[in-house]
């Protein structure tokens, strides 16, 4: 006879066994066709709006302006200065009660700075720090008052009092330091009698701290001293006579960013307008000579020097005047217009430069101190030169190669690990009158190329073109499809890395005829995906 308990045990074991049967997730693969993104690329997207000007017929010009000659850093440079002052009790010992004066009654001190021929009579500090180190040999606390009568803030002279701790013993002095911000102080640099320049007046007063409980005898060896250091002094404004000297500005180079994305190739410009603008915001006469101006293409190593009438010729620069507004001075300006007929400005730009160089000589106050110490200078407003390039987008391009890097972030895309493989299709409807050969490179964080993505042929064909006057213009759009096949590894790479370099090579239609770009030209992109997706419940 089978035991009832045995049967019960079998039954419940079976039920538990069935219920606890291990289950995995089912998964299967599906084929998904879906649009990913769409975008339109106009000339506004390629170049910043701030650089573009649109003509009456919609033709586009690029206007690029760069300041490439600057003088403010070299004109005035006030060195860091340290002044040491010590007070001794001369000849004999002296007993001083609390409050007793150690220093002479009117201990004014004048310090004249040497500024290479520049005579400053007044100024205002943008920044500057005074560092004080005080010493006390007296075994009583010293009350030390430090005044700079010629430095005022909102009309109030600088005046501070510091308590120096008592010396530890007769051989061990005490020290104390203080740091004082001088930003915003007005300076009178004409001395106690207001008849000199570059001179700072200070006054010291040292006495036994009146709160001390008893007096003390001090001897000639006792010293109360102060060392004051001025560091990082930058004027906001200065006035005086700035001397007559010759200043070399350059040779130096500055970045020229208009073509920074272009890696190689050449262009031909139908026309170009360039203006060289010299501006003097300094209240000082000068004479400037443009020794050299050049453009450099670092990729090719090619340099083009500017040939123009004003080069190597002394140019008299008049002093600016106060504006009592903003900007603080009314500048002297001189504009030189350069074009195909009076210069090689077009060649300067067709060089596709990434750097602009200059070598300038400036003679200050060539006629001497004709202003009676009333030259002035606001630190942000000095002498500079600007180059303004107006580039009508009527050109031909041969293998112009642009490169740009895009950072992206797909970290929040859900279930991306279930996207197995597939093909991305980029459909481009090109409304520009040029072909574009495009390639996408997947990159790691160090900029190392991991993979190229677009299969050959990778051409976006030019829009249909027609001739309008002397120009070739786009007339409609041409559709091209680029395929990006992705195997499973490439798919995961796409999600793993987050940087893509886009390299595009342009060739205009009908070169060397010029194509004209209008504000209506655009490329419409549509990116679609056909991929295997693993459904994983």
């Amino acid at each position: 006879m089978i035991s009832s308990r045995f049967l019960l045990a079998i039954l419940f074991a079976s039920v538990i066994g069935i219920a606890s049967c291990k289950r995995d997730n089912p998964f299967w693969d599906t084929g998904i066709v879906a649009p990913i993104l769409n975008a339109s690329l106009t000339i506004d997207d390629i170049l910043p709006d701030s650089l573009l000007e649109t003509g009456s017929n919609g033709e586009i010009s690029v206007v690029y302006e760069t300041k490439f000659i600057g003088l403010s850093d070299t004109l005035f440079n006030i060195p860091d200065t340290t002044i040491d002052t010590a007070f001794h009790i001369p000849f004999f010992s002296l007993f001083l009660q609390p409050g007793g004066l150690i220093t002479p009654n009117n201990s004014y001190q004048q310090t004249k700075y040497s500024l290479n021929g520049v005579e400053i009579v007044a100024g205002k500090l943008r920044s500057g720090t005074m560092y004080l180190l005080l010493r006390n040999d007296v075994m009583r606390r010293i009350s030390f008052r430090y005044e700079i009568p010629s430095a005022t803030f909102n009309g109030v002279p600088f005046d501070t009092t510091i308590i120096i701790p008592a010396a530890v013993n007769t051989t061990t002095p005490s020290y104390i330091s203080a740091t004082i911000d001088l930003a915003g102080y007005d300076l009178d640099m004409t001395g106690l009698q207001n008849n000199i320049s570059n001179t700072l007046v200070v006054r010291y007063e040292a006495r036994i701290d009146p709160t001390e409980s008893s007096g003390i005898t001090i001897i000639p060896a006792d010293t109360v001293g102060i060392a004051s250091s001025f560091t990082g002094v930058v004027p906001e404004f200065i006035r005086g006579y700035f001397g007559s000297s010759t200043i070399a500005i350059g040779p130096e180079t500055t970045n020229f960013n208009l073509f920074q994305r272009i890696q190689s190739g050449s262009i031909g410009l139908e026309a170009l307008n360039m203006e060289l603008v010299l501006e003097n915001y300094v209240g000082m006469d000068a004479r400037v000579t443009l020794n050299d101006i050049w453009s450099t293409n670092s990729q090719t190593g090619n340099t083009v020097h500017l040939n123009a009438p004003m080069m190597d010729q002394p140019i008299n620069v008049d002093r600016a005047s106060y504006s009592f507004g903003f900007p603080p001075s009314v500048p002297w300006t001189q504009t030189y217009t350069l074009n195909n007929s009076n210069s090689n400005a077009r060649a300067l730009v067709e060089n596709l430069p990434d750097q602009l160089g200059y070598d300038v000589t400036l003679v200050t106050n060539p006629l001497g101190n004709v202003s009676g110490n009333n030259d002035f200078f606001f630190v942000d407003w000095a002498f500079n030169g600007k180059l303004r390039v107006e580039l009508p987008l009527s050109f031909f391009a041969s293998n112009i190669t642009l490169s740009d890097t895009i950072d992206y972030d797909f970290t929040t895309v859900e279930n991306k690990e279930d996207i197995l493989k597939g093909t991305l299709t980029m459909t481009a409807e090109n409304g520009f009158p040029f072909d574009a050969q495009i390639q996408l490179y997947l990159m790691d964080v160090n900029g190392t190329i991991i993979d190229s993505l677009i299969a050959m042929p990778n051409n976006i064909l030019s829009a249909p073109t027609t001739t309008s006057g002397s120009h070739i213009v786009a007339n409609g759009q041409t559709t091209s499809q680029l395929l990006i096949p992705l195997n499973e590894q490439q798919t995961q790479n796409l999600f793993f890395y987050n940087r893509i370099m886009i390299k595009t090579r342009f060739n205009t239609t009908g070169a060397p005829s010029y194509v004209q770009i209008y504000n209506t030209n655009k490329i419409d992109f549509r990116l679609t995906a056909d991929f295997d997706y693993r459904v994983n419940n």
């Binding site: 049967l7 299967w28 649009p35 769409n38 975008a39 950072d407 990116l527």
Partner: protein
């Protein structure tokens, strides 16, 4: 002593007809207290069944047990597609107690009669039920993606899915020797229901756009708790039975049963999402191609496609069963049965089932059936019973032998097992 056969059938139907599922894998006629001194029987059981006229057993097994569903498996399902397909599943766990208050009446010549006044039963059940219906393109879209629909419209209309999980305390009382009633109190644990009315997805031939038209409703119970303790709905249900006897020896019996006529009212924290919308998705529009940062892809979440949830009470009708069973009985080893079933509030189709029962002795019984309809197309259920020491019945069976023989060409499967223990006592009346 010979018992009066007529009444024993009724009691059996009363107590166990109600355990039938939509697929009815458990036709239990074995619990009635046959012994003179049997006072109480206790039964516990567990069962499940699934069925579909499209999904194969091989496919369902993968779906449930996990693993990779390859193209061959999907293809075997696609070969069985209809213009409209159904799927269903059910599970039932429970314990029952059947109590007899008196010993059988002696009606003469040693024949005893079991009266309806002698019995009642109480059951506690944990039940699951899934009903679904869908067109073939819904399956194709779900398991093949929209690539096959490039340039075409996938019709997703009239998709219906409803899942119920509830617990049931069921009191069954005979009203007469041929009539009975069952009353249940239901505790709703969870449910969800989704259905589309008019819905389709168009995939542009070039993949430039996905156009969706969708008129759908989705409802779900309170998600605050999901365990057995969750009480998110309350309901009641009714079971009714009536038997008719024919023939000289009343060898023919027509048994009518209606079970699970009831409802569950889900709490006010139930959520309803309803939307009738059309939209075209053309991908993300990138304003600045040189700045493909994460914000360019904002709104990738599908949450934005869902309407705002409405919190309100929802009432769901239970999937009911209406059955007419015709039984041909004999005193020999063989009996036969035919049953027609209807399943209101369910996606299951009407079902016809023919059963041959073989019981060579009182310790062993075997029955096999053929069934068409319900959730499946064609099934061969097999079940057996073994009695031990007059006190213990073990029953078990499978819902479809074809599930083991040709899993990739058959739909519908299930299994059950039950254990019944009889307590005996002497009667004083």
């Amino acid at each position: 002593m010979r018992m009066k056969f007529r009444n024993s059938f009724f009691i059996a139907g009363l107590f166990f007809g109600s355990t039938a599922f939509a697929q009815d894998p458990m036709e239990t006629y074995f619990l009635w207290p046959s012994g003179q001194n049997v006072a109480t029987k206790v039964q516990t059981w567990a069962s499940y069944s699934t069925g579909s006229d499209m999904l194969t057993n091989g496919f369902v097994n993968k779906l449930y047990l996990g693993g990779y569903i390859d193209d061959g498996l999907k293809s075997s399902v696609m070969k069985r597609q209809n213009s409209y397909n159904i799927v269903g599943a059910t599970a039932d766990l429970g314990v029952a107690g059947v109590f007899r208050f008196r010993k059988p009446d002696v009606v003469g010549d040693g024949v005893t009669q079991i009266s309806h006044k002698h019995f009642m039963s109480i059951r506690v059940r944990d039940r699951y039920r899934l009903d679904g219906a869908f067109g073939p393109e819904a399956f194709q879209l779900a398991f093949y993606g929209n690539r096959p629909f490039r340039g075409q419209t996938a019709d997703l209309s009239d998709i219906k899915f409803r899942f119920l999980h509830w617990q049931q305390v069921q009191l069954q009382i005979p009203l007469s020797n041929t009539t009975g009633i069952g009353l249940s109190v239901l505790k709703g644990e969870s449910f969800f229901k989704g259905e589309t009315r008019k819905a389709n997805l168009f995939t542009d031939p070039n993949g430039y756009a996905l156009n969706v038209n969708a008129d759908f409703t989705y409802q779900m119970s309170d998600t605050a708790k999901s365990s057995f303790k969750a009480w998110h709905g309350t309901g009641a249900s009714l079971d009714l039975y009536q038997s008719f006897y024919f023939g000289m020896d009343q060898n023919y019996v027509l048994h009518l049963a209606a079970s699970d006529i009831g409802f569950i009212k889900w709490s006010g924290q139930s959520q309803t999402f309803q939307k009738d919308t059309s939209f075209s998705y053309t991908g993300f529009t990138i304003d600045d191609l040189t700045n493909l940062n994460d914000s360019s892809f904002a709104g990738l979440s599908t949450d934005s496609l869902l309407p705002t949830a409405q919190f309100k009470s929802v009432t769901t009708w239970l999937p009911a069963t209406l059955q007419a069973t015709f039984l041909i009985r004999s005193e020999g080893k063989w009996n036969g049965m035919a049953r027609a079933s209807l399943y209101p509030n369910s996606t299951a189709r009407p079902e016809l089932k023919m059963t041959a029962m073989w019981k060579p002795n009182k310790h062993f019984g075997l029955r096999t059936s053929v069934a068409v309809g319900g959730f499946s197309r064609f099934r061969i259920p097999i079940e057996t019973e073994i009695a031990f020491a007059r006190k213990i019945y073990v029953r078990g069976g499978i819902d479809n032998a074809l599930a083991f023989i040709v899993p990739d060409k058959s739909g519908g499967q299930g299994a059950f097992v039950s254990l019944t223990y009889s307590f005996e006592r002497g009667y004083s009346n």
